[in-house]
């Protein structure tokens, strides 16, 4: 054995590491000098290649609840209305116009008569009736069917409930503590179905015999009333959906829902083909069986790789569909998506992709990087059923010592969140919220500085509040400590992904710094996390991410509404529920928003969750891709998208993309909106 051997190997390994290191440095200087990120040539075949996320769960729009799938459905299936390309407000689709009842509990849609399926069959109101009934069938097991629950008797049908028939008449809900929905004047012609659906709500009991028996025996009045009665299952034909004629559809809701129209572009309400489904059952989504009704149809499908679509000549608006084809690629790894984009293999990709350390660099590509507020939020829910977080002062102290602006600066792409519902998404709501906040401040006689102090980052105030709660924070040189705070089992729990981890590490450091309390982190694999979180097994903090189902603050405010809510804090306050209900009965949109803001302010006083950040779109598109906008939900109506061959007309400085007007898209949008004379609000 010789020393020479050693030194040679050392030299070898040093050489290798130096080579690797220098190549990295070369890589650094390589990027950033060009105007565009990687290869940028407009594709000649007029086909857009887009990464929408991993393999879609199904091509059946009524089954999955994910956003990646939703983008595919927007190409394949049409609905009554479509999301607007910039603001996601509903624009006419198969429904060319609609009427709304004064109480906003009934909608009459007038369908266009040229709409066709991809097999050429005409689309009629009956197709919509079928689609909704099918989505709500218990056997369909749609995970988004709860969105349809606002339609009268939909929840009863989906939950397999029964009406109670006594003699010739049915028991009514209002006689057993249900609300009285009052009389309705019909919108459109009166029919036998409408007489039934507009009449007082029937009482519905559980379909399961045991549960029903328990339900009945707990209510003496009910017990007497069901004596000798017959239980009739709620049927699909009982749902408040009616084809008045071939091109007129009437939907009756169980209560006022001013937000109903903004729910309608959701995938659950899109059309599904009756013939194909009834013929092929669960195999109807196979490329050889599928029938679609969107701007594109399936050309070929390679699962886990690519779904290739082509323009559908049968589409009613085919003249205005710019692209000849659309490819959805299934890619999971974020860096792989970035690589494909850089190599020019894809033209645009889904939201939340650019890794946060890359953002500073990617931001330089001003013509490509789209970072806009999203209709989604992140919170730390606190388990308020267990001490010490059952004390609102403790919750406030922790909230006041999180610097949301600092967190935002660190996360780079998000915006700070200070309340339950996000800002920047619906400007009218932001105005209402500011007004309500000012009103409350005046009511309480607090100075405006003091008012701001109570809701924004203020470690001094936080320590004071925690002190009041009985956990004095001691100053110890430059740092703080809080020895009396019971740390036993208190954790920040989150499902493991990079963004959750970065946020948790940042917030943990903040609390350590400002309160002298170090809360350990606990990561969990996603499927372990969700039941753990939902059943309130955690103590302390748990991450709660929420994306709005529709464009209305109500979709966020319901997080903490009702006993079995989605908030995960164990919060329940009937007063808050009542405030929300009252707001929804308000028909004036401004007043309604103010009532909702009131409810939100009331909730934030009790603080069941610490607001952290508003989501950001955080995606890229090549400059030649036009008509694709960073809307708050990254749900993209593909028929507006086109590929611009002329580099002069490519998108520049996409920061203003939502403000700038593209004449092509604008004209297309005006044409579509012209059929609906009244404002969509």
């Amino acid at each position: 054995m010789n020393i020479l051997g050693v030194s040679k190997i050392r030299t070898l390994s040093i050489l290798v590491s130096v080579a690797v290191a220098s190549s990295f440095l070369a890589g650094c200087s390589n990027t950033g000098s060009n105007r565009y990120f990687g290869k940028t040539f407009a594709p000649k075949d007029n086909v857009l290649r887009y990464v929408t996320g991993p393999e879609p769960e199904s091509l059946d729009p009524q089954l999955p609840d994910g956003q990646p799938e939703a983008r595919i459905y927007m190409a394949l299936y049409d609905g009554l209305v479509e999301y607007g390309p910039k603001d996601m407000q509903p624009i006419p689709a198969i429904a060319k116009s609609w009427e709304i009842s004064p109480k906003v509990d009934e909608f009459l849609f007038h369908l266009r008569d040229g709409a066709k399926w991809s097999d050429g069959a005409p689309i009629t109101a009956r197709d919509f009736v079928y689609s909704l009934r099918r989505g709500l069938r218990p056997e369909t097991i749609s995970r988004t069917s709860y969105l349809g629950y606002i339609i009268k008797y939909a929840e009863e049908f989906n939950g397999g409930k029964v009406f109670v028939k006594k003699g010739e008449s049915f028991l009514l809900a209002k006689d057993f503590g249900g609300s009285d929905n009052g009389s309705r004047t019909p919108l459109g012609p009166e029919t036998t179905f409408h007489t039934f659906i507009a009449s007082d709500d029937r009482l519905a009991l559980d379909g399961d015999e045991k549960k029903r028996a328990a339900e009945i025996s707990s209510d003496a009045k009910l017990k007497a009333a069901v004596e000798g009665a017959e239980f009739v299952p709620v049927m699909a034909d009982d749902i408040g959906v009616e084809a008045v004629d071939d091109f007129t559809l009437r939907i009756t809701l169980r209560q006022s829902a001013p937000y109903f129209l903004s729910m309608l572009p959701h995938q659950f309400f899109r059309l599904v083909p009756e013939k194909a489904i009834e013929k092929y059952k669960k195999e109807w989504t196979r490329p050889e069986h599928i029938v679609t009704c969107g701007a594109f149809r399936i050309k070929s499908y390679r699962p886990y790789d690519a779904l290739v679509l082509e323009k559908d000549p049968n589409y009613w608006d085919a003249a205005n569909v710019h692209l000849d084809g659309l490819e959805f690629l299934a890619v999971e790894e974020l860096t792989t998506i970035m690589n494909l984009y850089k190599a020019g293999d894809i033209d645009a990709f889904q939201n939340h992709v650019v890794p946060s350390p890359w953002v500073d660099e990617i931001r330089q590509y001003k013509d490509e990087y789209l970072n806009f507020p999203e209709n989604s939020t992140a919170y730390y829910a606190m388990n308020i059923t267990k001490p010490p977080f059952n004390d609102v002062r403790v919750r406030k102290a922790f909230n006041l010592s999180v610097d949301n602006d600092g967190l935002t600066a660190f996360r780079k792409v998000t915006k700070p969140l200070y309340s339950l519902a996000p800002s920047f998404i619906i400007p009218e709501y932001d105005v209402a919220r500011a007004k309500v906040s000012e009103d409350i401040r005046k009511e309480r006689g607090v100075s405006s500085e003091e008012w701001l102090k109570n809701s924004r980052y203020d470690p001094e105030q936080a320590r004071k509040v925690l002190n009041e709660a009985g956990f004095p924070v001691l100053k110890d040189g430059d740092s703080y400590s809080c020895p009396s705070f019971p740390l036993e089992n208190i954790l920040i729990t989150f499902n493991s992904n990079e963004s959750n981890r970065a946020t948790a590490e940042f917030v943990q450091a903040q609390w350590k710094q400002n309160l002298g309390i170090t809360i350990p982190l606990k990561t969990m694999e996603f499927k372990t996390y969700s039941p753990y979180f939902r059943s309130l097994q955690y103590e302390g903090f748990a991450v709660l991410l929420w994306s709005g189902d529709f464009m209305d603050p109500y979709t966020f405010l319901t997080l903490e509404a009702g006993k079995e809510n989605q908030g995960g804090s164990g919060y329940y306050d009937p007063k808050y529920d009542k405030m929300l209900d009252d707001a929804n009965y308000e028909l004036d949109s401004t007043k309604r928003y103010e009532l909702l803001a009131r409810a939100e302010a009331y909730l934030m006083d009790q603080l069941p969750a610490i607001p952290l950040t508003i989501g950001a779109t955080n995606w890229m598109k090549k400059p030649y891709v036009k008509g694709l906008y960073p809307s708050p939900g990254t749900l993209l109506p593909w028929k507006f998208v086109y590929i611009e061959q002329d580099p002069e007309k490519w998108d520049k400085d996409v920061e203003n993309i939502l403000v700038n007007t593209d004449p092509v898209v604008e004209r297309q949008l005006q044409d579509l909106k012209s059929t609906q004379p009244v404002a969509t609000k």
Binding site: G27, D403, A409, E488, A509, P520
Partner: protein, 392 residues
């Protein structure tokens, strides 16, 4: 064949091997690097904390410092995305990575080698059965095992697990030692007494007495170790890994356990293959003929002759297990943030490859250097222990 016999009777093969190892400069280099590395991860984090104040989880208070910074005098390895000192993180990560490596090598050497050797030597139905068990464990998705382990023992149960597992292990080790000791004493006595014929009739009683006494003594040691263990062993272990026991977050220990569970499987197969090819050789047949017990044949004759591939495979297990750990961490089943391991640091670093290369280079090179050294040392040990080296 005579050489093999000579080897068994060799006065002190270990000291010879040690001498041969010291002559191998590459192996010595590896040994020194490994020792330095182990010392560094043990004392390094504390030294850094005393001198600079940085710890693996210290996020700077000023927001403008919460970002990735290239290597500098204050941060020789640079910082990660949260502005934490990468040197401190690499050293802390070394604790977990080295522990993962040591435990899995240990399991794979102890369990894998004896299991494979016994299966290979015994052969027939027994071999078939034993190998099919290996196949079954191999086929069960370990990710699912880890998920279930975490679900059953994670959370509040970890506390009990972390306190009790070391105790149970220590306890059973002491128990086995006790039995061995007792058997040894008993046999010595047997040998001693049989030479003096007059006392031969008394040995069973005395022997039993001594066994009972020895067991009682060991029992006392065991119980006291339990007492010590429950007050210090578990918590101090957890403390060393920087995890808070009272929070029940010591997933790391479950990870060690899970990785240990699967790390011996391929080793068993490799050893069995070697034994199959060795067991019909002359020296084994000779040993059998001279009445050496199967146990002795396996452990004194067969395994030493299969040591080459065994040691090489053991050194191969370490990187494999470290990478498995990194992948599990990536899935949220491994180390808990803010703790890290070399694997998880590299995993994070590779994402920033093109922009912050130091985040990959430093943990990556540290890990590679360790694995290199381990490998040189492994080769050195192999050469040193090789009963036939002297012949060449």
């Amino acid at each position: 064949m005579d050489q093999a016999l000579e080897d068994i009777k060799g006065a002190s093969p270990w000291s010879d091997a040690w001498k041969r190892l010291l002559k191998n400069s590459l192996a010595v280099f590896g040994l020194i690097v490994l020792i330095v590395m182990i010392l560094a991860v043990i004392v390094g984090p504390s030294i850094i904390e005393w001198t600079t104040g940085y710890t693996y989880d210290l996020v700077p208070a000023q927001h403008e410092l919460v970002k990735a910074m290239p290597p500098s005098i204050s941060h020789p390895f640079g910082t990660d995305d949260l502005g934490r000192d990468l040197l401190a993180r690499v050293l802390q990560g070394g604790r977990i990575s080295l522990m993962v490596g040591i435990i899995s090598t240990f399991v794979s050497l102890v369990v894998g080698v004896s299991y494979g050797a016994i299966a290979g030597y015994v052969g027939g139905k027994m071999d078939n059965l034993m190998m099919r068990i290996v196949d079954i464990i191999y086929a069960i998705p370990y990710m699912l095992i880890v998920i279930v382990l975490l679900a059953v023992f994670g959370g509040p149960n970890t506390k009990a697990l972390v306190t009790w597992i070391p105790q149970i292990v220590a306890g059973s080790l002491i128990f086995i030692l006790g039995i061995l000791l007792a058997v040894l004493i008993y046999r010595r006595m047997l040998a001693g007494f049989s030479s003096t014929a007059g006392l031969a009739t008394q040995y069973p009683v005395k022997g039993l007495l001594i066994v009972i006494l020895a067991s009682a003594l060991l029992g006392i040691i065991y119980l006291s170790s339990l007492a010590i263990g429950s007050t210090s062993l578990g918590p101090s272990l957890a403390d060393w890994y920087g995890t808070n026991l009272s929070q029940g977050v010591s997933q790391i220990f479950l990870l060690f356990f899970a990785l240990g569970l699967v790390s011996w499987l391929t080793m068993a197969r490799v050893v069995r293959g070697q034994i199959l090819s060795l067991k019909n050789q002359e020296f084994v047949i000779a040993a059998k003929a001279t009445g050496v017990s199967p146990f002795m044949i396996i452990f004194r004759h067969l395994i030493p002759n299969a040591l080459g591939p065994v040691i090489v495979y053991a050194t191969l297990t370490v990187p494999a297990v470290m990478l498995t750990e990194a992948f599990l961490s990536y899935l949220g089943l491994g180390v808990q943030a803010p703790y890290a391991s070399w694997g998880s640091l590299s995993f994070d670093g590779v994402k920033n490859l093109a922009i912050f290369p130091w985040q990959l280079i430093f943990p990556g090179v540290t890990m590679a250097l360790t694995l290199f050294s381990l490998n040189f040392l492994g080769d050195g040990i192999r050469d040193a222990l090789d009963p036939q080296t002297r012949k060449f």
